[in-house]
């Protein structure tokens, strides 16, 4: 630090703060890798951790069954967990900021209800999209409805100005509408279709595949740079909407594009693994406690926290009931809540 700077002391203090935050984000990244490795190593067929590492680095060194287990089952599941966790957490973090509401999550405005309705239509009425492989039909429907619901929300809100209250009220209206429509479809559904639908709505990683992983990965990769680019504007928005506008930020625009990113992330996630609650709500809270709300750190920390929780939930879903694979959506809350409580109780003075 230059001796000449009149603010040397404050600049040094800020540099320390930034270093600490970078270290926390890096720590979360390391934690995620460990959780991922554990997730890959956990499963009904006992594979030692050493074999798993070997199998990933040198696939040829393992026998065929082990290779198939690692590469066709464990890896796609585990990576899907990490990716879905990160995507939902990022969506939740942005949502909480743009709606100025700590209880907001990617599903607040009806994205998952709409996805469920799309899935219900595909499952129960057997509607199919042309040119799609059979196991992509349901995700495609879920995505179309989820994404469509956000576009509908945006255009409704646009009619009346894009204030936060308007958005939330229309969102709630959509949640109830789609829930009613899902119930209606369930009412006419056959026993078998109903069972499938219930299982779908619980959220499960067992639908993961390399293809779906690739799509979600691409969507996330495409969205993240725009989220990070908006991070200073999001930080300023935390100081209030009027304040942010008086800093020269077009809040309506910021909110519109953020909501578009949220819907892409949430709709793609829900389409592939079903509804997984809690991650999008809690991961941002954990990140906020750890690194504050400078969104340059807050957004990455949220993603990594979401990935860690989801990965741990995936491990738990395989080990809680021996021999059975629980739907991970059930486990996320069960594992997330104690983690969250521990953090709240152990919280020191903030920042």
């Amino acid at each position: 630090m230059s001796e000449l700077s009149p603010h040397a002391q404050e600049l040094a203090a800020y540099a320390r703060l930034v270093r600490r935050r970078v270290a926390i984000v890096a720590g979360l990244g390391a934690l995620m890798l460990v959780a991922l490795l554990f997730d890959i190593a956990t499963g009904p067929s006992n594979l030692p951790l050493g074999d798993v590492v070997t199998g990933i680095l040198h696939p040829a060194a393992l026998d065929a069954p082990a290779r198939v287990i690692i590469w066709d089952v464990r890896l796609p599941y585990a990576l899907m967990a990490v990716l879905v966790g990160a995507a939902l957490a990022l969506a939740g973090a942005e949502m909480q900021t743009i709606l100025n509401n700590p209880l907001a999550s990617p599903f607040t405005l009806g994205v998952s209800s709409a996805a469920s309705f799309g899935a219900a239509l595909a499952l129960v009425l057997g509607v199919g999209l042309p040119l799609l492989p059979a196991d992509w039909n349901l995700p495609a429907f879920a995505f179309l409805f989820a994404f469509g619901s956000v576009l509908l929300l945006q255009s409704l809100a646009g009619l009346r100005g894009t204030g936060v209250e308007t958005l939330v009220l229309f969102g709630i209206a959509l949640v109830f509408t789609f829930n009613a429509l899902v119930a209606l479809v369930q009412f006419v559904a056959s026993q078998e279709a109903l069972q499938q639908l219930v299982f779908w709505s619980m959220g499960s990683l067992s639908r993961a595949s390399w293809g779906k992983l690739g799509v979600l990965g691409l969507v996330t990769l495409a969205v993240v740079p725009f989220s990070l680019k908006a991070s200073w504007r999001m930080t300023a928005l935390r100081l209030g909407e009027d304040r942010a506008r008086s800093f020269g930020i077009s809040v309506a625009r910021l909110r519109f594009f953020s909501l578009l990113r949220v819907s892409l992330l949430a709709a793609t996630s829900v389409a592939f693994v079903g509804t997984i609650g809690f991650i999008g709500l809690v991961a941002p809270h954990i990140a906020r406690l750890l690194v504050g709300e400078d969104h340059r750190f807050f957004l990455p920390a949220s993603m990594l926290a979401g990935a860690v929780i989801m990965s741990l939930a995936s491990v738990a879903s395989k080990t809680l009931v021996p021999g059975a694979l629980l739907p991970v959506g059930i486990v996320t809350a069960l594992i997330g809540v104690p983690f969250f409580m521990a953090l709240i109780f152990s919280r020191r003075e903030r920042l």
Partner: protein, 265 residues
């Protein structure tokens, strides 16, 4: 403070109409020649349109008419264009925000000028703003840990760091104790003089307006009821007409105007 050859910036408001939907709040309002370096206080009863006028000047609500800063017509400018000249400090301060004073100040700069300003320059300017307000020691403290007065100063820092030509303040002292009320008002008056800023400030306290403002505008039902020096604008007649009170306006032993309200009429 200012060099004598330099002309001070001027803000001219002419034929201003502001409304929400069909409800007209401000109609055909004229306020000529608000001058740089001076503090103009907006006073008036509840629902007189003070905050609406301020928000219109800030470009936060659509307005018809003219708001001209020297040669620049501000109505019709984009949010970003407006923000280059004008900064608005709302009355409500944000709650439960996990940001330090320094980060909040920095975000006021980085969120819209991120490209034009180097990080080092932005850091220096943010710290300069905190130092000017005497709150350098709060730089790394969280906004949530601050007292009301400290938060108001932090908010003021977010405004002046943008170096606006026009600074709009909405009741910055209403939630503060007397010490902080005076401190904030003194700093605002000093900053106006030092940097030739056009300050327009909504105040509830008439005596405070009389003491710190060079010009007082009394608003009533969205129109100007009185406009002039504190002595000219704050009179028993105006107070009776606008606030419906019987009041005396007297000078205290230090020469400041005091308003003594006897009764509501």
């Amino acid at each position: 403070m200012q060099g004598t050859g330099e002309t001070l910036p001027q803000l001219h408001i002419g034929g201003l109409h502001v409304g929400y939907g069909r409800r007209r709040i401000i109609e055909a309002l004229d306020l000529p020649a608000l001058e740089g370096g001076t503090v103009t206080a907006l006073i008036g009863p509840n629902a007189a349109g003070k905050t609406t006028l301020l928000r219109a000047l800030a470009g936060l609500v659509p307005a018809k008419g003219s708001i001209r800063l020297d040669d620049v017509e501000l109505t019709g400018l984009s949010v970003a264009g407006h923000a280059r000249h004008v900064t608005y400090m709302p009355q409500a301060l944000p709650q439960r925000v996990a940001l330090t004073v320094f980060e909040a100040t920095l975000s006021a700069l980085m969120s819209s000028r991120g490209g034009a300003l180097s990080t080092a320059d932005a850091h220096a300017r943010a710290l300069d703003a905190l130092a000017r307000l005497g709150i350098s020691d709060l730089a790394m403290r969280g906004l949530d840990e601050l007292s009301g007065g400290q938060r108001q100063l932090a908010s003021l820092a977010q405004s002046i760091v943008r170096e606006p030509a026009v600074l709009l303040l909405d009741e910055p002292t209403s939630a503060l104790d007397i010490h902080h009320q005076l401190r904030v008002m003194q700093l605002v008056a000093e900053l106006a003089r030092e940097r030739s800023i056009i300050v327009v400030i909504v105040l509830h306290d008439i005596a405070q307006a009389a003491r710190y403002a060079q010009r007082v505008v009394v608003l009533q039902n969205g129109a100007v009821a009185a406009d002039g020096t504190p002595e000219a604008a704050i009179t028993p007649e105006t107070l009776a007409r606008v606030y419906r009170v019987e009041a005396r306006v007297e000078r205290c032993s230090h020469g400041f105007l005091q308003v003594i309200v006897d009764r509501a009429v």
